[in-house]
């Protein structure tokens, strides 16, 4: 088994109408043995940039701290908060720095990008473990259930979903995908980002 599957876990992000959502499961395992059902993999970077870090759990923590540090340095130097697109490139270059001894993480970024006219545009992206960026207009997936997530999301997602409908779509996509994956599940967490608020909901799934 690959090191990417050692701890298990999955993340998905989706675009809606003037909103984005990012969700993950809460399992931490050691191969097939479950250790914790409260292991969060999604972290707020700013009020409107969130990052999900599925993969090897030690690198989840290490990279979270690394991003927090680099983000603080950016915020101090620039005297402003980072935009999602800029943050995606920061993630990409942080991972590529370790090209020949990588962190075993496939990050997913979700945020609201400020446009020239002053309103916010949904932004989602994902990278592989060495930082190759993948932008998408609809949804991005990563983790041990990524293949299942692709299938369910392809069937459920539609353009221009309102925040509440987007929540339902992403929640059902995640819950149904992780039920077909032994290494993901044990509860889930969903964040829906809109221009004036962030909604966090913790979900119970099949706890087996």
């Amino acid at each position: 088994m690959s090191i990417m599957q050692y701890n298990g876990g999955s993340v998905i992000a989706m675009v809606g109408k003037d909103c984005v959502a990012i969700a993950s499961d809460l399992r931490l395992g050691s191969q097939a043995m479950g250790i914790s059902s409260h292991f969060e993999k999604i972290f707020p970077m700013t009020d409107r940039v969130y990052v999900g870090l599925p993969g090897l759990a030690t690198d989840v923590t290490t990279l979270h701290h690394q991003f927090r540090y680099r983000l603080n340095m950016y915020t101090i130097k620039e005297e402003r908060e980072i935009e999602p697109e800029t943050f995606a490139h920061l993630v990409s270059s942080t991972l590529y720095e370790k090209r020949f001894g990588p962190y075993f993480i496939e990050p997913v970024i979700a945020g609201l990008q400020k446009t020239a006219s002053g309103d916010f545009k949904p932004y989602i992206a994902a990278t592989d473990l060495i930082g190759c960026l993948n932008f998408a207009k609809d949804f991005v997936v990563a983790g041990t259930a990524s293949d299942k997530l692709f299938g369910v999301a392809e069937g459920l997602w539609e353009p221009d979903l309102e925040p509440e409908d987007l929540f339902e779509t992403i929640a059902q996509t995640l819950l149904n995908a992780v039920d077909r994956d032994a290494y993901s599940g044990w509860g889930a967490v969903v964040y829906v980002l809109t221009k004036d608020k962030v909604i966090k909901r913790e979900l119970k799934g099949r706890m087996d």
Partner: protein, 194 residues
């Protein structure tokens, strides 16, 4: 082959580890203490590669002690756990990493709450209500899911621990004979005879 358990309850953490020191198929010693007292309110059970374990545990012990000497306040369990995780994570990508798995139990005297951290040699860390390492984990985690009570008294916790130890003794081929049990609560650390 080491087996270790830890259980939190109402205001306490119980940490238990077997006391055998083995080399290949031979028991060299049956009274080895594999639980370090890092500070007046912090316990650490260690297991893994022989040699690495004691070396790493002593390294951690002395660094925590140094922090206590340099600063007016000691490290709280969360901070100590963070520092230990970082040390293991840095070690993992060094030329020769430590292969040490840990259970870190502590009582936070500022917020009056017990904390338990499960940590492995990769630097994976998570806070849990109960935890186990080694072959014992395969037998004990199921029992703990069923019988653990986060609001249970010390007696309840010890009874649950006894269940785990008995199950391991019954079903594990290479079950260890004896365990050392330590408890940390508001009054500090003490050893308990089962």
């Amino acid at each position: 082959m080491d087996v270790s358990f830890a259980i939190t309850g109402k205001g306490y953490v119980i940490v238990a580890a077997d006391t055998t020191a083995a080399r290949s198929i031979v028991k060299m010693k049956t009274d080895e203490d594999k639980i370090k007292v890092l500070s007046p309110h912090l316990l650490m059970a260690y297991s893994g590669e022989p040699g690495d374990t004691v070396q790493f545990a002593e390294f951690v012990e002395r660094n925590i002690r140094l922090y206590h000497i340099r600063n007016p306040h000691g490290l709280r369990p969360q901070s100590a756990a963070s520092w230990i995780r970082r040390t293991l994570a840095d070690s993992l990508r060094s030329r020769r990493p430590y292969s040490v798995n840990l259970l870190l139990g502590g009582y936070d005297t500022s917020e009056h709450a017990p904390h338990l951290y499960w940590m492995d040699y990769l630097g994976t860390m998570v806070e849990v209500p109960f935890a186990a390492h080694g072959y014992g984990a395969y037998f004990a985690l199921g029992l703990l899911d069923r019988y653990h009570d986060p609001e249970g008294s010390l007696e309840d916790g010890l009874a649950t621990l006894r269940r785990c130890i008995d199950e391991v003794a019954k079903r594990l081929v290479v079950a260890p004979g004896q365990y050392k049990v330590k408890v940390v609560d508001k009054d500090g650390v003490r050893e308990i005879a089962l």
